[in-house]
Structures are given as C-alpha cells and as structure tokens.
C-alpha cells in the first residue's frame, strides 16, 4: 500500500486534509490517488476567494489519459492555491503530501471536519 501519513484526515474521494493553526485546511490528493491517475500534466486550481460547498468539484487534475475532479472535503472559502502546480503539475505525483498540495480552505464550520476519516478508515475504505 502507498504512503499514508497518520496526522492527516482523508475523504472517500481520495483527498487528504491537513488542519492548520490559522483555522484553514490544506487539501491535496493521496499517494494512492496519484498512483491511480498516473503522470499528471495539468492541474486546474480554483480561484482564491471561491466559496465552495462540501463535496463540490473545485479542482481538475489531468493525467496524460484523462481528466478527474477533486472535491472540497467541507464547505468553505479558498484562501490560497499552489501556484507551483501551474508549471509543475508532476509535484502532485512526486510529493503528494508536501510540494504537491493543491489549495487551502477557510472552513465555514470546524465541526464539519469531524466527519472526515483517519488514515486507518481511509485504508479500509480504499481497499474495497
């Protein structure tokens, strides 16, 4: 199985979520997800200040073969996007939990985060 940090939260749709001290979360896709997608050639990041609903498709990642959506784990407002991905989408493949982060979100209701999965649950879920 691929790399799965214990200090992150996860969604069924293969996003990882890091909770930051300033009340934002950082969102990316899991190592498992990038493996499934293969070499990424383009990441369409959301606009800063975009308001998103939970489970709204707000990022498109494109591999050589196909385009896939990445979903907002909870409702909130986009506060930052990883601009390095514009020229180097492969960072999502090479460092999915670090340099390959995709965007930051100011969460509307922090209790929404309670519904996210831990590494163990994600692993059980994605093994199906």
């Amino acid at each position: 199985m691929s790399n799965l940090p214990n200090d992150l939260k996860y969604t069924k749709s293969h996003e990882w979520i890091q909770t930051n001290e300033d009340g934002t979360i950082t969102v990316g896709i899991t190592d498992h997800a990038q493996e499934l997608l293969g070499d990424l050639v383009y990441v369409e990041v959301p606009e800063v200040d975009l308001e998103v609903a939970a489970e709204q498709a707000c990022v498109v990642v494109e591999s050589v073969k196909a385009a896939s959506d990445v979903y907002a784990p909870v409702a909130g407002t986009v506060t930052a996007v990883n601009e390095s991905l514009e020229d180097a989408p492969e960072l999502v493949n090479s460092d999915p939990y670090g340099e390959g982060w995709i965007y930051k979100l100011k969460v509307n209701d922090p209790t929404d985060l309670d519904g996210l999965m831990d590494a163990e649950s994600y692993l059980a879920e994605s093994d199906d």
Binding site: D39, Y42, K65, A67, P89
Partner: protein
C-alpha cells in the same frame, strides 16, 4: 475486468508491475511502473515493447483472393510483392470507414491481415459476407503480436535477423527470433522505426523475455501507445475515424492507392467509390486536422472547436492528450474545411474556458520509418 480475455503475456505484464485495464474485451496493460510519460520518451529514445496480441490476425487465401480483396479495400494489391505490406481501409457501401488494417502479401494466393481488436468480429463477418465462398478466412486465434518500436529496435534484432538492413518499412519476413519461429514486419503505430512480431501464443512470453533482457528495451503500455500514435498523427479507429467518416474526410486519401483513384487504370470498383470520387473532385465540408494547444490543459475527445471571430462551433476534437515530446497539449479533430489550413487560429472549449489553439500540420513529431 474479471470477464476480460487475457493475452499470452498477461502474467508477464503483472510481473512487470502493469496496471491492467479492459480494452476491447482484453485485460491490457495501460502502463507499467515508470508511467506513461517515461514509457513514451523511452520509446522515442530507445525501444519500447508493446503487447498488441488483442489485435486480430487473419490469413485470407484462395484463388482470386487479390481481386476479391481489391473489391473491398481501395488499395492496389495485384502489384504488391510477396512479403510487402500496405495500409488500407475497409469501406462500407457509403464509402465510410469500417476499419483500418494492414494487408501483407504472403503468397500469390494468400494475405496476412491485421485488424483492430474492437472491430475484428465485425470485420470477419463483413469479409465472409462479401468475399466469394472459395476464399478462406482463417482467424489466427493462437497467435500473439508483439511490437518493438523505437530508434534502438533494430539493434535488438540485429543479431537475430540476417541482413536486417534489407528489411525496410512495410516489408515482412518469415524467420526465427531467439530460436522461435516468427513473422516479422517492419511496421508499427508510433511513427518510429520498429517491428511487429507475430509469434505463437506458446512462444510469446519467451520471446518477450528475450527482448526485455536487452537494456534498451522496456515494456510500454497502451497509454503511451496512444500518446505516441497521436504525436505521429495516426488515427485511432472509433475516435478519429468510424462509420460516419470517409477516407477523404479523414485525410486518408494517401491510403487509396493511385491506381484506384478516378481517371486511373483501376479506378473505383470498391464500396462507395462514387461517393469518394465525388469528394476527391469537389472536396468535403469538414476534415481531420491536427491542433496545437496553448497552455497545459489537454482538450479531450468531444470538446468543441470554436471560431474566435464568430464564436460559432466549427469542429470537434476526436483525440486529445498531452504530448510528452512537445510538452504541450495536442489534439486531432474534424473542422470546417475553411478553417483547416495550417496556421489558422481557433479556440477549444475546455470546461468553462476557451483555450487558443492553432491548426498544425500532421504529424506533430517527425516519423522516422526505415526506408533503406
């Protein structure tokens, strides 16, 4: 995928860490551990080994087979020498494309024909229906097909085939490779010099292992096969051509042998010949073109092509990907003929954006076939 058929190389794919997908009813490797981009670039720089055993291999034989096939495919076969091959299109009565195939003459009365995996059943039915009863169609079910493609492909086979230099593009030879009986042709689907090797299912894995033992050779999946053929400007059946397109619309006039075109000695005499002759004479409303796309976002099949001046839809993308060699998105599609000239600037609707693109001459990457 549990219902998918397996090629004789199935276990070898898994040993090499392939990710398997269903393609035309077969479990096929879409990529190996290196990934599509590395596999693609490796093929352009060295040599890639592809399993294309899902394709249909046929022997069509019998007295009068040459003339009989000429009535279904608009190519010149009478003058085709033994062990020479030609690309051709199987046409419907409307002159539209049922499949594309490679026809190799084996003897005076027999041809070796390779057809697309997804089309093979329909092709066999069509051929059986339209060829005289004396013509035999044999489907080589127990035959595997391996493609070795790239600038180093010939160095791998150098020790195996005597006088390899004399085997030029679109020629074949009965021979042994690593002691295994094979039929080798100098052909492929990547735009590179390379070979397709037909071998019995029983020997296929052994042959593949011998080829992969060479440091220049890596296994390459269907993902890179698709991006390689797109760079080479080659059509994929069911996407860039199908039963709604004629060879003229598809930009494949070159595939109609000269002798079969209007005003030549063997003009017509194939399905839809009048329609095609009319299109050669008067042109077509829309035709296949290449498109070079600005930025990094690939335009995929089905995306609309738009005239920036009028904002009208003038075409549609039929294949689109990211070119690992050009490091930008490329596509093929059909466009209103008045916009088809190379250099014309258009837009492509990708999700909510309109992305600038320019009509580009095909191929995108120079073909390097070995012509001696």
């Amino acid at each position: 995928m549990s219902d998918s058929l397996q090629t004789p190389l199935y276990d070898l794919h898994l040993e090499h860490g392939a990710r398997m997908v269903d393609f035309a009813g077969y479990a096929m490797p879409v990529q190996y551990q290196d990934g599509i981009i590395k596999e693609h670039l490796h093929t352009r720089a060295n040599a890639g080994l592809f399993d294309v055993s899902h394709m249909g291999q046929l022997i069509i034989s019998g007295t009068g087979v040459t003339q009989a096939l000429e009535q279904l495919i608009p190519i010149e076969l009478e003058s085709l020498k033994d062990n020479h091959q030609r690309y051709g299109l199987l046409l419907s009565e409307h002159g539209t494309i049922l499949d594309d195939l490679i026809v190799t003459r084996k003897t005076a009365d027999s041809f070796f024909v390779v057809v697309n995996a997804a089309c093979k059943e329909n092709d066999i039915e069509h051929l059986r229906q339209h060829l005289p009863d004396v013509i035999k169609i044999e489907y080589l079910q127990d035959q595997a097909l391996l493609a070795l493609q790239g600038p180093q492909a010939h160095t791998v086979l150098q020790d195996q085939l005597e006088d390899l230099e004399s085997l030029t593009f679109m020629q074949g030879r009965e021979c042994t490779v690593f002691g295994l009986p094979c039929y080798v042709t100098r052909s492929g689907y990547t735009g590179e010099d390379g070979f397709e090797i037909s071998v019995t299912a029983e020997h296929a894995a052994e042959l593949a292992k011998h080829l992969l033992a060479h440091p220049e050779v890596k296994p390459v999946g269907l993902g890179a096969r698709d991006s390689l053929r797109l760079e080479a400007g080659l059509c994929l059946y069911g996407h860039d051509m199908d039963t709604s397109k004629t060879p003229i619309e598809a930009g494949l006039l070159w595939s109609i042998s000269k002798s079969r075109r209007p005003d030549n000695n063997k003009a017509g005499g194939y399905p839809g010949a009048d329609i095609i002759a009319g299109q050669i004479e008067s042109g077509v409303d829309s035709k296949r073109v290449g498109l070079l796309i600005e930025g990094r976002a690939p335009a995929r099949e089905g995306a609309e092509v738009i005239d920036p001046a009028s904002d009208k839809v003038i075409g549609v993308i039929t294949s689109g990907s990211f070119s690992p060699c050009l490091e930008q998105p490329i596509a093929m599609g059909y466009i209103d003929q008045s916009f088809a000239k190379a250099g014309t600037v258009v837009e492509i609707a990708v999700r909510k954006k309109k992305i600038p693109a320019v009509i580009h001459q095909l191929p995108f990457v120079k073909q390097t076939y070995y012509r001696g």
